[in-house]
Symmetry: C3
Subunit: 317 residues, 3 copies
């Protein structure tokens, strides 16, 4: 079976040499093509990227994203070079990001980078002729996380259209949840935004969501999740976001999902979380068949295999 | 020549998917089978693990064990992903070991882990369907070190049965020496335990040894090593174990082996040390043909190749 | 086309098993052979080092050199093991360099090492039967940097003979510039040494240069670079070399090259820099076709592929 279905060949071929910087760069057709191609990588084990090298540049530590790309590249027979944290890099000697990228582009065939500054990935992409994948640039974008979230949703629900989704937790600081909400807005969802008052979804994203057909509601109470909801997407609530320790303790407990939730909202619900979790999801939910957060993390490898193969023109089999 | 001798085929096959957590999990037949299979890996260079990925999770730094597994996997054509120290992991964000393991099991085919807490490897093994190898869990177990010690002894002496072995140095804190002594007890050894009074072998291990046929003696003086001893197993004496600096200085010098030892105990003796050494073995012994500590370290790669191939079912050639 | 031209076969074969410790170890014929063989690696993509393992031991962090060797090895189908900084190594437990090398030689087929102490690479080479490559030992030598500098010069100028070269910047502390100047002295260059008074080329190197046919001049002023110069080799000026902060500020600006330079010295000049740069070369020069510093860094991979293949006897195709 071909990796790319006949009808998507041209669109897939157009990805050779492209970069993955922001979800906003992609048309809805392109997003759906990527999810379709990713399916093939559930079972693909040919060394499609043999002889290819991925430059993995982590200017900020990240175990999960880094290892996930590492795995994706190696499963396809490729190799990885780079650094896992910035403390041992030439940046410490005052080198500009520009220069680092221009050196590294002579070493590899594509670059995955994480950087603490917003816009760093776009800058890198402007600097090099190589495909650049944004593995997170500050609070801005983390598009491959969004692709794996979308893949997980589509696989669980069969469609992305018209889903009833509750986002729960810290909706203010999480780039994951911003990016997913914005992208889902293309598919006429019914969104329910549930957060403590101090961690509401930012105004500019609310404005974007208001323009879409599906609409959204906001509340501060976990009890407000309605029966029949298709998806609950929970996010990590970080202590360092709260100036008041007591406020953190209160919120932490108030936004903890457990198995009792299922009695209320029904067993059709899929539960996602970008991980790591702390108290947001009680282990009592782990055995529920709709608890998808670990499969979601595993899907990260599949989706990243697809993206690497597309950008490196290795899907034409 | 087949990797596994005909007579051991069934026993070897039964290792596919198993874990290596503690020496106590293995029957004597199983231990001997592993040492026999390891022999084949002295010369084995086929890429038996091509396409396989080892997750290498070091929650505590370790150069030697980590690199040894890295080498073993790569010599067999496999790949390695993971992290070399915990400071850049999600654990810092409060993630449980359970969750880390459940994420990583989606990335790889087997896990080697080192962790500062006793029992961590067993917990990981209970969590995942993948084979888990304990690369050291606190002061508890480090079974692959024991397997390489056994391999080195068997290769040097031709048998593990009835050996006269002197353990020298810090016998209180070294998991290496505990594990080896307990395992050797199955082979009717004559054990001589030589340590400073404050660093004696723990009572529960002495009790175990007392139950075996071979028996043991204890002393505090290096001079007590008897002529005709088959093996001296020296261990590192760590400054941080001594509250009194002067006591450390005295012991450090009193337990230093040098070439003059050979005149007394004879040149049949094999000298082992898990390395790194500081003052326990004088370099004047390095050229002695029975000084096996470097070959012992090298055997670590061979034994780990065998274990990886067995757990991943790649020995059926 | 063969990797090694017919006429150089014997010389190239003699490199199997050799080490790369200091430029002084190599005859001029050997140096030219290496540069000739390196040419083949501009396009070589066969997995000549499949099944081989490079031990990469960085007792001092270095992103560029480390990644460059990593890339070279992996492009040739080989694998890499080792450590990227010393903080997690057994050295912290008091292990001698000797012992570390004797353990690691059982894991790999060749060793690249960087170490903070002068002479460390030579010591390692005396310890092991494996080829050792010096990736920088304190302020002493960094021969693979010199080989890539030479490769870049020869490719740009067609010859190494009789070149007019200006060395600019910190000529006192840079091992790169010492090693290159000494080696170029074999090719009758006209050298112009331009530095602040406090950062002049050391006396013992000046003495060596004085003995060569080409000769050298010294000055403190960037304006002294003459029209028609073939090469400007700029070096990083490090703040920590100046006890007086104001002195650093003055020098930093006085030794900054920019595009206006070309009007004066002509567009025949090639500009090299070992990177990372800070203020020594203004970005306005980056688009100049003679600005070779990024290509120079990329040549590092090519030259290191050639060296690894030569030392491991993989060039006999």
């Amino acid at each position: 079976m071909p990796i790319v279905p006949e009808a998507l060949r041209d669109l897939a071929s157009s990805f050779e040499g492209r970069s993955i910087i922001s979800m906003r760069d992609f048309s809805t057709d392109e997003i759906l093509m990527i999810l379709e191609v990713a399916k093939s990588f559930e079972s693909e084990r040919r060394p499609l990227l043999q002889g290819r090298i991925l430059g993995s540049l982590f200017f900020e530590p990240s175990t999960r994203t880094r290892i996930s790309f590492d795995t994706a590249m190696k499963r396809l027979g490729g190799q990885v070079i780079g650094f896992v944290d910035p403390s041992s890099t030439s940046l410490e000697k005052g080198e500009s990001l520009d220069d680092t990228i221009r050196v590294v582009e002579g070493y590899c065939d594509a670059i995955i980078m994480r950087h603490p500054f917003e816009g760093a990935a776009r800058l890198a992409d402007d600097t090099t002729r190589l495909p650049v994948i944004n593995g997170g640039d500050g609070s801005n974008q983390h598009p491959t996380q969004t692709f794996l979230d979308l893949y997980t949703l589509k696989k669980a629900k069969g469609t992305l259209e018209g889903l009833k989704i509750a986002f729960v937790g810290d909706l203010k600081f999480g780039r994951t949840v911003h990016s997913l909400a914005e992208t889902m807005a293309r598919f006429s969802p019914k969104l329910h935004l549930i957060s403590p008052p101090s961690l509401r979804m930012p105004r500019h994203i609310l404005d974007e969501l208001a323009e879409t057909g599906g609409g959204f509601t906001e509340s501060t109470d976990l009890e407000a999740i309605e029966p029949g909801v298709d998806v609950i997407y929970a996010t990590r609530i970080q202590k360092e976001r709260f100036p008041d320790f007591m406020e953190y303790e209160r919120v932490k407990n108030a936004y903890s999902l457990d198995a009792s939730l299922l009695d209320k909202v029904g067993r059709n619900v899929s539960i996602l979380h970008p991980l790591p979790r702390v108290n947001e999801i009680h282990p009592s939910l782990d055995d529920y068949e709709g608890a998808l957060y670990f499969r979601q993390a595993h899907n990260g490898v599949i989706v990243r295999m697809a993206l690497l193969a597309l950008l490196l023109g290795a899907c034409n089999e």
